[in-house]
Subunit: 428 residues, 2 copies
Amino acid sequence: MTLGSAPLRLAPTRDDVLVMKFGGTSVGDAERIERVARHVMAAKMKGFKVCVTVSAMSGETNKLVGLTETLGGGDVSRDADYDAVVASGEQVTAGLLALHLKSKGVPARSFQGWQLGLETDESHGAAKITNIPEDKLLASLDAGEVAVVAGFQGIAPNNRISTLGRGGSDTTAVALAAALGAVRCDIYTDVDGVYTTDPRIVSTATRRKALSYEEMLEMASVGAKVLQTRSVGLGMAYGVPIRVLSSLGEPEDTDEGTLITAEEDIMEQEVVTAVIPSTGEAKISLLGVPDKPGRSALIFQLLADAGVNIDMIVQSPARAGSEANMSFTLSERDLSLAMEKLTLAKAELGYDDLVANQNVAKVSVIGIGMKTHTGVAAKTFEVLADRQINIENISTSEIKISVLIAAEYTELAVRALHEAFGLSTAKA
Amino acid sequence: MTLGSAPLRLAPTRDDVLVMKFGGTSVGDAERIERVARHVMAAKMKGFKVCVTVSAMSGETNKLVGLTETLGGGDVSRDADYDAVVASGEQVTAGLLALHLKSKGVPARSFQGWQLGLETDESHGAAKITNIPEDKLLASLDAGEVAVVAGFQGIAPNNRISTLGRGGSDTTAVALAAALGAVRCDIYTDVDGVYTTDPRIVSTATRRKALSYEEMLEMASVGAKVLQTRSVGLGMAYGVPIRVLSSLGEPEDTDEGTLITAEEDIMEQEVVTAVIPSTGEAKISLLGVPDKPGRSALIFQLLADAGVNIDMIVQSPARAGSEANMSFTLSERDLSLAMEKLTLAKAELGYDDLVANQNVAKVSVIGIGMKTHTGVAAKTFEVLADRQINIENISTSEIKISVLIAAEYTELAVRALHEAFGLSTAKA
């Protein structure tokens, strides 16, 4: 199967093939790998041909990355030799899981990315999958084996090992499911599904039974760390249903988690499905920017060149008609770099004053139903106004409204919105 | 180049190509890998094109093997998935060294065994190299790169990663040198060369400047753990000079170590070049074995079937002409297994009594000059007799005399022989 610009669902659906993915925490030690094997055996017992993909044991990748930085003299994550080093963690886990399955009488074998011919582009450290030939995997599955694939890695056109970047094993899993035409891709992780909000903030948060790809993408982009964004996009592109469920219990105690699938496959659609807080945000305001054509382009090009992603831009007229105030949000991580670049370019940009604010948070209201239901924005503003919470910036998409507020009001805002949109009672 | 039954020195000698090998202790942490890079750069400065091969960081392989045993339910070292797991350690070190060289401005790249097409047979966990295509390595060297090869591994005919067994990186190094026609293979280790005896026993032990392959093989087989036996045999078969030297100092402080080469290339040959003690031996005596044809074959077949290697067999007539006493040595590790097998077969073998003795040690006198000089055996026996040391068993080869003595006399015997053969004064 060729990924990228290929038509959807090139592979015929194989109802008896299941892809399962286990992340770093789920394979963190020998005991956990044994439990992973029990999950795999349970799926086999249900009649599935199982392809499993695994991450490195938790902590391993960080250790290896640390060594590359020490010895490479800094960040060398774009180097092919970096990939050779960090890809080893998944190779180990895949081999260990295959060995354990065999010790339990279940035929199994491990595959490294290069053995499958799992091709990527040459962007070492952040490669994109370009092709997964399914022949070797299907041969292994048809021979009754569990095919255990080292996640996160492939082979680049230069015949070197490539890696897909952080969280890349999710992408491997969904891409394998697409290539195999698997009935579903089950992502086992350390949470038991996707919630209406952060349960640490709102005790009445409920787990969603189902979510659309679009909703999951919006949730991921505003900070819900359950699934890697790219994997959800891939699932959407190829129509692979993705299930998020917990690896922390035994198979018989594990409930069904959250299914992420196409909008039309979700029976009961809610207008709003989640309220997601996102901290780690910062805001920069430029005061008294000359209101001339091309001035904003100049500012944002400067930041883009420095690798700074920005979000939630607001421009408003300042005192004089010829000047404007401009503010935008960015990741707290990038704040000092952005401030430095903007300060150096003060003369060129011609603004009067530059103000940074780290005491901000973004709260997002998400729901596929917003496509057809109006009034969500109005209700959001009303709920926040009732609590005297000032909205500093706003951004919206077809299925999301995000507001920037003072960080100290985050919990209050999330609880109020979660309650107002009826998310505190258990629903589909 | 094809190894195995191929003619010697198939590859043309390339006087500007040097292979360097660094073992697990030498790459045990980031600082040591940095020092390895300085050794490599020093060789580059001398004008060599350098191919380096590395082991896993010390402790890593043991950790990985431990995980395979825990999860595989015992020893799974013949499983292809075992190889996928344990080969990862060398992959990491090779990548890290390449990254560090590049950070110092030295072009470099790592190669895994499969990337080179370093072919082996399908004996997973103890594979033999069958072919090393030199094209990719030569292209890398000719492009000015240091080619850093993950040691200990190759690719089997089934397209799975294979490993060469413990100490396999020495074999990788010598095989690479043979394939490349390298001028020499430098093995960096945690000792600074090969000594006339164990310096912990004899303070006047001196480092040999040169040794023949045959001498090194005999020394390895009786317990000198400097080089893996297979690598010395490969060096002999392909005429690759091997130098053993220390990786523990800076390049400028590292002296020339010991050169292992063909007998005819050693200028000043000694009659005796080393006296090697070997502990960890045990002796089994079978008393009153019926002296019938085929009886010894029966005994030794029984032990061979159990995987027990035996050595130094002595058979002597017992009281009656129809019975014999038989004794042999074996590794202390195998003693209980051998005793169990022999006890179970008592009726079949028909011996009267079975005696085990762990308080024995083997001392070997080694020297290529013994091929042409007589009198070494006589002198050995005389020296030991003078010290009242009883010789229990004797075995000899063309260039070696080994005697089995009571373990408590080991140091005394080694010191006396070392002195008697004139090894205590510095020589070539």
